[in-house]
Amino acid sequence: MAPSDATLVERLPRDDSGDELRELYRRYAGQLFGFACNALGDRELAEEVVQDVFARAWRHASDYDPSRASVRTWLYSIARNRVVDARRRAAVRPGVAASADQETPAELDRTLEQAVLRWQVAAALARLSPEHREVIRLAHYGGLTLREIAERKGIPLGTVKSRTSYALRSLRLILDEMEVA
């Protein structure tokens, strides 16, 4: 049975092989990267944030208290601080998301929450089958009715209806797993 997130973090201070860190990285690096990319608009800076998050995680693993927050929340709070630092450092560089100086802390928190949400929704859609993603794309983003989708794709209307319902049920389940209300 795979160790829980909290167990991995608990073992980090004694992890000489790097196995626990590698497992934690595989569970969270992708979503942290997506979050940082959305918040910073810069892949290179986002990669640095991911590295820094895991460096802090292993250095401060003994400070982690599972009764106060999930590992996911803990890692995101580290990432949030690193993103704020990165935005401040990058404030003078063109092409990077707006300076943290121009936002109040509450606005900044909202921006970062939105960045997390954007990544989660995109990641959830990416986990759907191509057929399910397609009907959502055509109906929601393309503004087509199910009848129009059936005509455009040359498939029976009944199939499009049931496919759309399956697609939304799957999407809801995936978002529930991600704790997205």
Binding site: G18, C37, R89, V121, A122, L168
Partner: protein, 252 residues
């Protein structure tokens, strides 16, 4: 297909508003009374709002280069080697690290065994040399290490230590500063041997005057010999340099 047998297949189209007008009306009446479709419609009603958070081009989300995992694991392995040699106690002086299994445990054993202390010193010296001298070998980017202690200029306050490592983008600077006057923005500079100042970026000190920052400067190991921290004047323009507050010579 879950949901009720008559209207279950319509629930997805209803949630997205993608049914024909008459079907939308019929479903609206149905979900109000159906014990299966009603709760399901409620569960789905937030989905259009969530889908509006992104553009279709956001799917799939950006993926992380495998090089980042290598970099994380390399960094971890390096720090573990340094800790194993007792380097962490000096490298992170003044910082509250809690590693009983690695530091306290090893210290207790060594104190009881003088021979082990001597052996550990030899290992520590070897690792310290490996850390201070540029590394060759097969590690990506052949990281070169140096450290520098930065002291306050006359009449100033504060001190800092920086550890330097080679990365493809230049030199990664990990800076820990203490005792800096708060409320100012500071900038780190690497002074090249040809006299050019290369900025590593800016940072703020916290309310205790401390900071822990990671910065990158576009310089290579060996091409610079001094580091300076300046205080940026209020309203300073890009490229404008403030007065130096800390400086130090590099030890390669």
């Amino acid at each position: 297909m879950g949901g009720c047998s008559t209207h279950g297949p319509l629930i997805g189209g209803y949630a997205l508003g993608a049914l024909e007008p008459e079907e939308m009306e019929e479903m609206g009446r149905h979900v109000a009374v159906c014990s299966q479709c009603g709760p399901e419609a409620q569960r789905m009603e937030g989905l259009p709002w969530l889908l509006d958070r992104i553009a279709p081009s956001d799917v799939p989300p950006p993926t992380l280069s495998p090089k980042v995992e290598d970099a994380v694991l390399d960094r971890f392995a390096r720090e573990r080697r340094e800790e194993g040699a007792g380097g962490a106690s000096t490298r992170r002086a003044g910082r509250s690290t809690r590693r009983p299994a690695l530091l306290g445990g090893a210290g207790g054993r060594l104190a009881r065994r003088p021979l082990a202390v001597a052996a550990a010193c030899v290992v520590a010296l070897a690792v310290a040399l490996a850390v201070i001298l540029p590394l060759g070998g097969d590690e990506g980017g052949s990281p070169a290490y140096a450290s520098v202690s930065l002291d306050a200029r006359a009449g100033g306050a504060g001190s800092a230590t920086a550890w330097l490592g080679q990365v493809p983008a230049g030199t990664r600077i990990r800076l820990e500063a203490r005792g800096l006057p708060t409320g100012s923005e500071y900038e780190v500079w690497c002074i090249r041997t040809d006299g050019r100042w290369v900025s590593g970026g800016t940072f703020w000190a916290d309310r205790n005057g401390s900071t822990e920052a990671e910065l990158t400067a576009a310089v290579r190991a060996g091409s610079y010999h001094r580091m300076v921290v300046t205080r940026r004047p209020d309203g300073a323009g890009e490229g404008e340099r403030g007065p130096a507050v800390l400086d130090g010579e590099l030890r390669y």
